[in-house]
């Protein structure tokens, strides 16, 4: 069959037909209304380099992606031409269980990796949003992490080294594969959370954790939000070692729970977990909880999955998702500001707070008539941002309709270090090939 589209023809030459997504699938990769001209999935570092050379020559922008679960994050793009997916680079390269480390290609899905590691009773203790579909590279590039960061840390804490292809095509290694390494600058940190603006991550070395013997979740409900907050902070400052301390207001996904509540994750040996369950019970009583007990999931989805899927319905529904990073003592005030925002906009404001980390997600949905009033939402988000920045925190909008994004900077102010960030971007991607416009300050 003759190929009429010259771009398709050229890409087929570089990565083969199997590496170019059929045109009728392109919509899945749309970003804020921009549909890419092509989605290309190279099967080797070599092919990635060739795609980059080609894109530079043709002046096409390149949007690095894994499985595309976090493509919605960022300011409105300047230019969306090629999405470069790492999904065909999906192998474990080195894994020696007794070393408790591994090297994996960036396109491997976290879920597939966890299945492999589980055979040796090990895992990578990250549970980011869309953790079942998200890839290693995407998780690393977005520094995405979930509830268990309280006990185990975030992506940043688990990466030992990586290989990345710069926009010039040069392949660069940073870090290594040992759990300790201070040779040279720690350039891993540059790529982690850089949203694909500095290079294409091709492989990542991680440290791992042994799987705990057992894991339990305790559910604690209260009448007042303040009681939940106090219980959480009391546990956070105790000698207990919870995996997560997640507060929910206005619903827990895939459950019937409506009251303000706290889900507490506990893991380890049975005796250790039992003792902690008792301690949580005592803290709950002292803080006036109306209910406390080990939570048994009723639906097929387990409780961890339900937190990864906050809010129910996902980010795709007409919704505004935002995330504040605060000192834990500032969380309660911020939650009230978030709920007031919901009242002002006459919509539903749902809150998930990672209480030990000071991370608070706010989801706004259920707008009257399903219409999101862009101007008032933008104004409300600015106010909410102020509530966070006034106490030394940050506030980013992770997902919002295009009309809202036109009126806001999703990242918020960066401060005086921005000049250095611009210089770093200019050095690593001098022609501005990679994901232009999406990151802070229009990087």
């Amino acid at each position: 069959m003759p190929i009429s589209n010259p771009l398709r023809y050229d890409l087929n030459q570089i990565v083969g037909e199997a590496g170019v997504l059929p045109d009728d699938h392109l919509n899945r990769y749309q970003m804020d209304g921009f549909v890419p001209q092509a989605v290309v999935a190279p099967s080797s570092t070599h092919e990635i380099q060739d795609v980059l050379y080609y894109a530079a020559e043709q002046e096409l922008s390149v949007i690095p992606a894994g499985n595309g679960t976090k493509l919605g994050i960022g300011n409105l793009p300047k230019k969306v031409d090629l999405v470069l997916s790492t999904s065909r680079l999906n192998q474990v390269l080195e894994y020696e269980p007794a070393d408790l480390t591994l090297i994996v290609q960036s396109g491997m899905r976290l879920a597939a990796l966890q299945a492999k590691l589980a055979e040796h009773r090990q895992y990578l203790p990250l549970d980011p949003p869309y953790g079942d579909q998200a890839t290693i590279g995407g998780i690393t590039a977005t520094n995405s992490s979930g509830s268990s960061r309280l006990r185990y840390g975030s992506t940043r804490d688990f990466v030992l080294g990586m290989h990345a292809v710069q926009s010039s095509g040069v392949v660069v290694k940073s870090g290594g594969r040992t759990v300790k390494n201070v040779a040279g600058y720690d350039l891993n940190k540059l790529y982690i959370g850089s949203f694909g603006t500095l290079g294409i991550i091709t492989e990542v070395a991680f440290k791992l954790q042994p799987l705990p013997e057992i894991e339990r979740t305790v559910l604690l409900t209260c009448k007042e939000i303040g009681q939940v907050v106090n219980t959480a902070l009391e546990i956070a400052s105790s000698q207990l070692l919870p995996i997560f301390l997640n507060l929910f207001v206005n619903g827990v996904p895939f459950t019937e729970i409506a009251e303000p509540c706290l889900l507490i994750g506990l893991d380890g040996q049975p005796e250790t977990v039992e003792w902690q369950i008792d301690q949580v019970g005592l803290a709950a009583k002292q803080n006036g909880a109306i209910g406390v007990g080990v939570y048994e999931a009723t639906s097929q989805r387990d409780i961890r999955m339900s937190m990864r899927s906050f809010p129910e319905g996902g980010w795709a529904s007409p919704i505004v998702m935002s995330k504040a990073s605060l000192r834990v003592t500032d969380i309660e005030g911020f939650i009230h500001a978030a709920l007031a925002t919901g009242n002002d906009l006459r919509c539903l404001a749902q809150v998930m707070g990672l209480m030990g980390n000071g991370i608070v997600y706010v989801a706004l949905s259920g707008f009257p008539n399903g219409d999101i009033p862009a101007e008032s939402v933008a104004g409300a988000l600015a106010k909410l941002r102020e509530a966070a920045t006034n106490v030394g925190g940050n506030f980013i909008v992770e997902s919002a309709p295009v009309e809202v994004k036109r009126q806001i900077d999703v990242w918020g102010p960066v401060g005086r270090s921005f000049d250095l960030m611009k210089q770093i971007k200019a050095k690593l991607d001098p022609i501005g090939l990679l994901n232009p416009g999406r990151f802070v300050g229009g990087i």
Binding site: P97, A98, D99, V172, D186, L190, R327, F418, L428
Partner: protein, 479 residues
């Protein structure tokens, strides 16, 4: 330096003449760090007390085109703070205040000259501590720890300095004052804080840090096993990790160290023992005993000769003292020693330790090993007499071979001491010219004049020659 007097006068105007050191005898204090094989005398040392003073000194250094180097307490082990081209050492010892302790948020704000252990002591009565614990923690400063991204015996479970620093204030190389990160966990933009940590003082001068405080664990269990051979002890380490146990610390000493420690301090270790392994568990007491039993079983499976359990805190301190006294005891074995700092995958430990023994024999240079076995971070201690030039030459060959072995098995050349002056020649063992070129690019963003801590980290043409490698023809890093 032509106008040294002028420089001194201007520095005195900034920090007061009492805080400017110029006389040669006093300057010798600042000629080296813990890696005493390297020495270089600075032209002048200043001791500022505020960020503004640091900024003014840096601006002055730029005007005079003079190198400037930050220094904490001089406990570094790679020559990272030496004034190799002369210049000004900015000693941060007087910036030693703990500015804020916020227990509810588990944070502290400290100046760079705060001694590591003093921060823990300031919060321990409230049940908190600062986790990174380099062996020099009684003396080393937090600013120095940040520059080197220091580790310590407990990094196996708790990570290194980078995992515990949330925010930094830094005087940039042109004297600007900029904050990175903050008091919260996430800040938008590139993680510049993360890149500054471990940059060995080449990106600017850290004047403030916001660090995490951790709640003290509910309990500890510490046990010590005496093994016939280092192979068996190494295999026990792998078995513990494979069993799903992550101890807070897993430390090993080999035969020569045991002998030296025993002769100096009489801990009652058998003189013919092959290895001593110290395991520390911490956390929630419920369930900990069953892990102790598991470890006991693993020890016995690997022909452990004797196991000692710490019954109480005094016992625990005693066990740790035997480990921490190792370096002191080794001073008795030779007039000088160099401590290497390679890291290898844990499963490679037995092989690498055997290779080190062979290298020791080949060059007739004694090597003792005391190290963080859980991390695979080895510290071969190369014993010699610096008055003998022939020995010095052999020691250099020994160092090269040891680090080459570490690189060959997928490891690295430094786990916690940094590259500094000491290991810049070995960087090509683990990084390609392209990898290094990117690091140089980043350095040039932060330090375009090259005046901030020059002459460190990057290999030279001589380094490539020493390793028998071809010198890369494009812009050589560290030019």
């Amino acid at each position: 330096m032509a106008d040294r007097d002028q420089l001194i006068a201007e520095l005195s105007a900034i920090v007061g003449s009492a805080h400017v050191i110029t006389d040669p005898t006093s300057l010798t204090v600042y000629e080296c760090d813990g890696a005493t094989q390297f020495k270089a005398l600075p032209d002048v040392v200043v001791l500022p007390t505020t960020t503004q003073e640091v900024s003014a000194v840096v601006k002055l250094a730029n005007r005079h085109n003079v190198p400037f180097i930050a220094r904490g307490t001089g406990t570094g082990l790679s020559g990272g703070m030496l004034a190799v081209n002369g210049g000004i050492i900015i000693a941060l010892n007087r910036m030693n205040r703990i500015l804020d302790i916020d227990l509810a948020n588990q944070r502290a704000v400290v100046e760079p000259g705060v001694v590591n252990l003093l921060l823990t002591q300031a919060v321990q009565d409230d049940g908190y501590y600062y986790a990174p614990d380099p062996s020099s923690q009684q003396a080393c400063s937090i600013g120095g720890n940040i520059a080197e991204n220091s580790g310590g015996p407990h990094t196996l479970k708790y990570g290194v300095t980078s995992n515990h620093v949330l925010g930094l204030e830094m005087v940039t190389t042109d004297g600007e004052i900029i904050e990175f990160g903050g008091s919260v966990e996430e800040t938008p933009g590139y993680d510049i804080r993360g890149v500054i940590i471990g940059s060995e003082g080449t990106f600017g001068i850290i004047t403030k840090a916001i660090v995490r405080l951790l709640r003290k664990p509910q309990g500890y269990q510490t046990l010590l096993g005496i093994f016939e051979t280092i192979d068996e002890a190494s295999n026990a380490v792998s078995s513990i990790i494979s069993a799903g146990i992550i101890p807070a610390a897993l430390e090993m000493m080999d035969g020569p160290v045991i002998k030296a420690v025993e002769e100096a301090f009489h801990w009652g270790f058998p003189l013919d023992a092959g290895a001593v392994l110290i395991v520390e568990l911490d956390g929630i007491t419920a369930g900990m005993q069953s892990q102790v039993e598991q470890i006991t079983e693993i020890f016995n499976d690997h022909n452990c000769r004797e196991i000692r359990y710490a019954k109480d805190d005094a016992d625990r301190q005693k066990i740790w003292k035997s480990r921490k006294s190792a370096f002191g005891a080794l001073g008795r074995l030779a007039p000088n020693y160099i401590t290497q700092d390679g890291v290898v995958p844990r499963t490679q430990l037995p092989k690498v330790l055997r290779r080190i023994a062979e290298i020791s024999e080949k060059y007739n240079i004694p090597i003792a090993n005391v190290f963080h076995a859980g991390d695979g971070n080895i510290h071969p201690i190369v014993l010699f007499d610096e008055r003998d030039p022939d020995q010095c030459e052999r020691v250099d060959a020994v160092n090269t071979e040891i680090l080459t072995v570490c690189a060959e098995v997928g490891g690295t050349i430094t786990g916690e001491h940094g590259i500094g002056l000491e290991k810049m020649d070995y960087m090509p063992l683990i990084f390609s010219p392209e990898d290094l070129a990117l690091m140089v690019d980043i350095k040039e963003i932060f330090n375009p004049s090259g005046l901030c801590n020059p002459g460190k980290i990057f290999p030279t043409a001589k380094s490539y020659a020493k390793l028998g490698l071809e010198t890369p023809n494009h812009s050589l890093p560290g030019k």
